[in-house]
Symmetry: C2
């Protein structure tokens, strides 16, 4: 991955978009973690920005233009919380996170999954990363409803392009190349979707031919249905997985894990979990995914030391096992 860091950066402006539900609890926790790293990064400046279903309910707009403008013009990076989905269809509402990814061309969603070993320094049993294409597939949201002979009929378009598949594929190869196992699994369902998933698969597999560095990476493929099963049953078999948008969404919902939405010029951290309105306000939301998303964001900006500092702090809290939130059943709880 191209590092977005400049050694000469004097200030670091971070947009904070807590959005809905527990997003409003976990993003402040991530902010605190960033403030605590001290001189490893330029003094951070935070800008609070609005988006989400609550913003929509208040103003009629889920993603205010101002939010996008400020991110684009004034911020070096951002942290996004989580959005609530309406429980009924709401006219005019559309997910702000999907729109943000597109507007800032954050074409890769990178979701590392690492188990914390109870013994410091011991390698993680699970150490893999899901690289999810972030701009197309069914997420282009081209949908229509018509009335047919037997009632309503709805159609959505699934778009897969050579260009987007190639750039996400390159990102995945770069990541795989930088890892000890250098293994990449291409996820698709081309036994059913031979044209669209066929194009995704071919585009990714064609990459090493034009960049011989990538010949060092072993490439495998797997159908999405069996990949999900094996991922839950034996996650340790995977190193890097690359997938079209929707499969990547399903594959990477792995509990309290962090992610970054990455483009060539901007990076936005985002915990993978939802807004959990049922536990909002009780102070029991688990901030680990958000704090780790902040670390991941700093890492992608080139602030490796700051990122390590945050990750190590989280690891030792988890190893301690004293400060666990109720949802911590969801990360591998260290045995004592």
């Amino acid at each position: 991955i191209r590092s977005l860091a400049t050694a000469t950066r004097k200030s670091l402006t971070i947009g904070l978009i807590p959005a809905d539900g527990i997003g409003k609890e976990v993003i402040p926790a991530a902010r605190t973690a960033i403030e605590a790293v001290g001189s490893d990064i330029p003094t951070p400046k935070f800008i609070d920005l609005a988006a989400g279903f609550e913003t929509f309910a208040r103003t009629g707009v889920a993603l205010p233009e101002e939010t996008v403008d400020i991110l684009y013009n004034d911020c070096d990076c951002a942290l996004f919380g989580s959005v609530s989905s309406p429980s009924k269809k709401v006219v005019g509402y559309s997910s702000p996170i999907v729109a943000l990814r597109k507007k800032l061309d954050l074409y890769a969603n990178i979701r590392p999954v690492l188990s914390v070993s109870p013994i410091p320094g011991e390698p993680s049993k699970v150490d893999m990363v899901v690289v999810r294409e972030n701009t197309e597939c069914l997420y282009v949201k081209q949908e229509q409803q018509t009335i047919g002979e037997h009632g309503k009929e709805a159609r959505a378009t699934r778009l897969i392009t050579e260009r987007a598949s190639t750039r996400i594929g390159r990102m995945a190869f770069e990541l795989a190349l930088a890892r000890p196992r250098k293994h990449l699994t291409v996820i698709h369902k081309s036994n059913v979707l031979s044209v669209t998933d066929g194009l995704f698969r071919e585009s990714v597999r064609a990459i090493p031919a034009s960049d011989p560095r990538f010949e060092a990476v072993t490439v495998a493929e797997q159908l999405v249905d069996s990949a999900v099963y094996r991922l839950f049953r034996e996650p340790q078999i995977y190193d890097v997985m690359v997938a079209p948008n929707l499969y990547g969404d399903i594959l990477s919902y792995l509990g309290v894990v962090p992610s970054v939405n990455a483009g060539d010029n901007f990076i936005m951290g985002e915990p993978v979990h939802g807004s959990a309105p049922d536990i909002f306000g009780q102070g029991i939301a688990n901030p680990v995914a958000s704090i780790r998303s902040a670390a991941l964001m700093l890492r992608h900006l080139g602030y490796t030391q700051a990122a390590d500092r945050i990750d190590n702090a989280v690891d030792s809290v988890l190893r301690e096992g004293q400060l666990l939130t109720p949802t911590l059943g969801e990360v591998r709880r260290p045995r004592r």
Copy 2:
């Protein structure tokens, strides 16, 4: 579910389509199980039928017309094995199982998941069923490839109709109503696909209004990404799940589990696993899913005693723990 059984049926003709790989090992095992149930069913007659990638490689056709005709005209039911997918795009090849479901209008794929308790008579910890829509969604296979400004572009259509969503929804409500917990979870991703998944969700939720019997069923909904996660982490929370085709495919790939493809007039058993070409011919394929698919098929035909007999036999083999195939790590292995 409408029972397809007639008390007066004098013979039972079963089409056998082993197809590829271990399908050719597990379908004969299922046949043997059916032959062993004796007088609980009319004397079965078996007809061997061709389909699959190997058939395609030999004849140029993956699903011979003869196979469909004989199933349609001469068989009461059928058992399907598993198909291999070509490792590269093969012009003219298209999955015979997807085609068969459509041609015989087997609109429901019913996949029960039941853990075997080590103590006979003790209730199963996991006892749930995935009801998957079997005819539309991305499985309509309407795909095109064009050349755009930046290279190849491929598009697929995802079709969701009120009619198909309502009939699969009714099937799911019937199943839920007949079960002790009477709980139904509707799976969708309407936070992104508000029109197509919105229609699926609304169609299913509208059913009790026109059939007050179903008011006894508690209905919940869940986004597919978090549903997959929870299904693997805490499967015991689910009773009946109903899902559009692709989500149902991913949700129900749960190892060595059985399924039936059901329409109003025909039923076809099918193990959920793949053709596992890597282990074919070694005699180590696990026939449990196929044997249970045969039981499920007989159950849907109204032969409850015969089905119980097969299931009980499988349960005791699993409890015995003597005759386990290598892949039996995949079903809950009883602790001794």
